[in-house]
């Protein structure tokens, strides 16, 4: 079994990302969307968490672009995907946990 976790809140405002990363299994995927993409920026107190996670971390490019975040600023290991990639992740995993 593998779970796709989506996080849509800024980690500076809510603990969703931290709690999510504390509950993922190694075969899971985490996708940062909407304000969740702020959690993908390198050099923050959350970049250690994302870079050390066993799960694959993805970030939705449309939401990154909308917020003017340069993809070069992403934490190493975070994979950038588009909406088609989002659909692929949903299809590849057995269930989705949308952290609210």
């Amino acid at each position: 079994m593998s779970i796709l976790h989506t996080v849509n809140k800024s980690p500076f405002q809510k603990n969703d990302l931290e709690s999510c990363l504390a509950h993922v299994n190694s075969n899971d995927a985490v996708l940062l969307i909407e304000d969740g993409v702020y959690g993908a920026i390198s050099g923050t107190r959350f970049s250690v968490l994302t870079s050390s996670s066993d799960a694959d971390i993805y970030c939705l490019k449309a939401d990154l672009d909308a917020r003017g975040i340069d993809p070069d600023k992403l934490t190493d290991g975070v994979k950038l995907i588009d909406y088609d990639g989002f659909v692929d992740l949903v299809a590849q995993n057995d269930a989705v946990n949308s952290w609210l």
Binding site: M1, S19, H23, V24, N25, D28, A95, S98, W99
Partner: protein, 144 residues
């Protein structure tokens, strides 16, 4: 009829997990989650609940909402056993962080049909590691 639809028609039981991560009265999430749990239970699915982060506050005993004008829905947790919802997983780390012990929570039980209707506790204190495994074994996860 497709194979999937046939399975549905024959009544496949799926594992449904309702994840509660918010305190009871500051937002409407906790009450709405409980409503959805009761709906899911009526469809004879394999239902369980997880209480993580501030979600553990939902199970505090002695809740009294008289003076805030909001319905105290905590007694409804006591009815879950009657709907065969007997798996309430409460994360120990979240309890510890908030200074809570099992004694601070409501006493929730269910009656085991296969064991001469013996009353058994519904609340299961689990570690974060155990919670990870439980979450990883669900067919459907609904997060609140």
């Amino acid at each position: 009829m497709s194979e999937d639809m046939q399975e549905e028609a024959e009544g496949t039981v799926k594992k449904f997990m309702y994840v509660n991560r918010k305190a009871p009265y500051g937002t409407i999430y906790a009450l709405e989650a409980l409503e959805v749990v009761l709906i899911g239970a009526a469809f004879d699915q394999d239902v369980s609940l997880a209480f993580i982060d501030d979600g553990v506050f939902q199970l505090s005993n002695g809740q009294n909402t008289t003076d805030i004008g909001i319905k105290n829905f905590s007694p409804a947790f006591g009815a879950l056993g009657d709907y065969d919802v007997s798996k309430l997983y409460v994360e120990k780390e979240s309890m510890d962080e908030r200074g809570l012990a099992l004694d601070d929570l409501m006493e929730l039980t269910w009656e085991d049909e296969d064991d001469d209707w013996e009353e058994k506790p519904s609340i299961h204190l689990v570690s974060r590691e155990e919670m990870k495994t439980i979450l990883g074994n669900q067919d459907v996860i609904l997060s609140f």
